[in-house]
C-alpha cells in the first residue's frame, strides 16, 4: 500500500522539530462504530506527539477528532472499537508502554497518571452530588495511596490556586460554579498527578470569549511550568494557529494535513485546509502575540 498523505505530512513535520523526543506515538489507528451500517470514525491515522509541544487537532465536528482522542486513551465505549493500529507511550524513564496492551488494573493505573484529559462540556464532567474536594481526593486515593489526608488537602488547594480558583471552593459542588470555574477545576484535576500528556477536547468551546482567553492563557502558563505535552482538539483553527506548535487537520476520519502552525498558516497544502483558513476572517496583528506575550491583556 502506498503511504497516505497524512504519513508524508508527518514525515515533514518530524523534520521540522527533530530535536524533541516523542512522548506519544500513534500508528495506523483505525476506529469504527460497529452499528448498521458501520461508521469508520478514524481511518489509519498516524501521528507523533513530542515532549512539551502543543499538537492542535482541527476539523469540523463529527470528523473523528474526539473519537481519536478517546481511542488514544483507551476510553472507547462500544459500539466504538479500535480496529487496527497501535498507540505507544514513551515514558520519561525511557520505557515504552503499548496502550493496547493495557487493560484492567494496569490501564486504570496508567490513566491520569501519564495521560490526563479535559473534556468538552465541562458542565457535565463533574459529579453533581459530591464536592470538588471529594473528586480531587478520588484521584489521589486511587493513584497515590501513600498520601496523607493533610497532603491531599494541601495539594488540592495548591492545584486550585494554580488554575486561579479560590481554594475555599474545594467545598463547593459543580452547580455552584460558573462554567469557566468548572473547566478550571477540571484542568486542576488533570494536573493533579503531573501527567506527561494532557488531552484537551474542546476545553473552551462552551465558554464565552473572555473566559476562553483567560483559560487558554492559564493552559499556556501551566505548560511552561510543568512542560507536559498537549493534544488540543478544537474546530477553531485560528485558535490553534495561535497556540499550537503543530497542527493536524482531520477530515472524515483521516488526517489530511499535519505541519507546523507556521506552515499551515502560510502555505497550506490540502484544499480542505485552505478552505478552512479562508472561511475565517483574516487574523489581525502579530500572530499569537496576544496569548504568548500577554500584551494587551
Amino acid at each position: 500500500m502506498n503511504p497516505p498523505v497524512a504519513a508524508q505530512g508527518s514525515h515533514r513535520a518530524d523534520g521540522a522539530v527533530r530535536a524533541a523526543d516523542p512522548v506519544l506515538t500513534a500508528r495506523n489507528v483505525s476506529i469504527d462504530y460497529e452499528v448498521e451500517p458501520a461508521v469508520h470514525a478514524v481511518r489509519d491515522v498516524s501521528l507523533t506527539l513530542h515532549r512539551g509541544e502543543i499538537l492542535g487537532l482541527a476539523g469540523e465536528s463529527g470528523c473523528g477528532k474526539t473519537t481519536l482522542a478517546y481511542g488514544i486513551n483507551q476510553l472507547l465505549r462500544p459500539p466504538a472499537a479500535l480496529k487496527a493500529g497501535t498507540v505507544t507511550f514513551h515514558d520519561h524513564d525511557g520505557t515504552d508502554i503499548d496502550l493496547g496492551g493495557l487493560h484492567g488494573e494496569s490501564l486504570r493505573a496508567f490513566r491520569w497518571d501519564k495521560i490526563s484529559m479535559v473534556f468538552q462540556g465541562a458542565m457535565n464532567s463533574l459529579n453533581p452530588v459530591i464536592s470538588i474536594r471529594a473528586q480531587l481526593f478520588d484521584v489521589f486515593t486511587t493513584h497515590r495511596p501513600g498520601m496523607s489526608k493533610k497532603e491531599k488537602e494541601e495539594r488540592s488547594q495548591e492545584l486550585l490556586r494554580k488554575v486561579g480558583v479560590d481554594p475555599n471552593r474545594l467545598d463547593s459542588f459543580a452547580h455552584q460554579l460558573s462554567g469557566g470555574m468548572r473547566q478550571r477545576v477540571m484542568i486542576a484535576m488533570a494536573l493533579a498527578l503531573n501527567p506527561q500528556v494532557m488531552i484537551m477536547d474542546e476545553p473552551t468551546t462552551a465558554l464565552d470569549v473572555v473566559v476562553q482567553r483567560g483559560i487558554l492563557r492559564e493552559i499556556m502558563r501551566l505548560r511552561e511550568e510543568f512542560n507536559f505535552a498537549v493534544i488540543f482538539i478544537t474546530h477553531d483553527l485560528p485558535l490553534l494557529l495561535e497556540i499550537s506548535d503543530r497542527i493536524a487537520v482531520m477530515l472524515q476520519g483521516e488526517i489530511v494535513e499535519l505541519d507546523t502552525a507556521e506552515n499551515i498558516y502560510e502555505n497550506a497544502q490540502h484544499p480542505y485546509t485552505q478552505r478552512l483558513l479562508s472561511s475565517f476572517p483574516s487574523l489581525t496583528g502579530e500572530r499569537g502575540s496576544f496569548i504568548r506575550t500577554g500584551e494587551g491583556a
Partner: protein, 354 residues
Amino acid sequence: MADDIREQQLAAQASGGGIAPAQIIEETPTAVLAGKVDKVGVWRRFGQQLRRSPKLAIGLAMVVAIVLFTVVVPFFTASPFALDNPSLLKPGEGGHLLGTTQLGADVLAQLAHGGRGSLLIGLTAGAITVVLSVLFGVVGGYIGGWTDEILFLISSVILVIPGLPLMIVFSSYIPGRSIWLIAGILGITSWAGSAIVLRSQARSLRSRDYVAASRVAGESPWRIIFVEIIPNLLPLAAAQFLFAVVAAILGEAGLSFLGLGPTGSVTWGTMLNDAQLGAALTRGAWWWFIPPGVLIALLGGALSLVNFSIDEIINPKLRTGSAQAKSVREARRKHKESRRAAKSARAEQKKVTS
C-alpha cells in the same frame, strides 16, 4: 433550581425511570451513533424497536392473545350467568374446560366475560388518566406561570393522597356501582403521577427552538400544545396510559375483594371475590381462584413489557446502554485481534529501522 431538580427527580421516578432527570427526549451522542433514533418518527422507531427487542414482541403478542380470548371465547361458551350446571365441576368435567363455580357457572365463560369487564375498566380509567394528566401536566407545563403553579399544586396533592383508601371511602358511599363508576373513581384518583411526568417533559419541550418559533409566529397556545407538544409526548403518554391500565385493573380487583367492586357485572376482580367468598382455595377449587389472578398478572406483565420498549424509545440511553454492553464481548475480541495486528506491525517496524 432546587425545586426544579426535585420535580425532575420525581418525574423520573414516576415514569419508572423511563426518563432521566434533566435528560429529555433529545438526541444524545450515543443515541445518534446507535441508529439516529430521533431523526425518525415515533412509529418507525416503534417498528425498529419491534424488530430489535423480543420484549416488545412478546408483550404485544400476550396482550393481543388476552384481548382475543375475551372477545372470541364467549362465542364458544355458555353464558357466564347460566347456572344450570352442577356446582364445582373439576376442569374438563361435563365439557367445562375450566370447571364450574359453586353456583354452577362455567369458569371459562366467566373468565372471558370478566376479562372484558376488567379491560373495559382498565381502558376507561387509563383514558381518563391520560386526559387529566395532559390537562394538568402538559397544559400547566406549557403555559407556566400561575396556571402551572396551581395545576401542579393540585397534581401533587392528589399524588400523595393515598389512592385505595380514597377509592374505598368513595365507593363505600356510593350505593349502586356500575363498571363505569368504578372506572371513573379509579381514573380520577390516579392521574397525578402521569401529570407530573408529562409536565416536566412539556416544560423542557417548551424551550425547544421549533416551539419557541411557533410561539413567536403567534400561534395559539392550544394549537402549539396539540400540534407541537403532544405529538412529541406521544410515547411518554402511551407509557403512562399503559401504567394506568394496569393500575386500574389491579385497583378494581382490590376494591372487588373488599366487596366494593362493580355490582351486578363480572370482572376478574369480582370473580376473585366470589371465589374467596366461596372458599375456593380451602375447598381445593383452584380452577376457580387461580385463573383470574394469573390473567391479571399476565396482562399486567405483558403491558409492562410493552412499556419497557416504549421507555427505550423515549430514552435512547436505555437501549444503547444495553446494545453497547451486548457488543462488549464482540469489541473485546476485535480488540485482541487489533493488538495482535499491532504487534506484528511493530515487529515490521523493528525490521525496517534495523
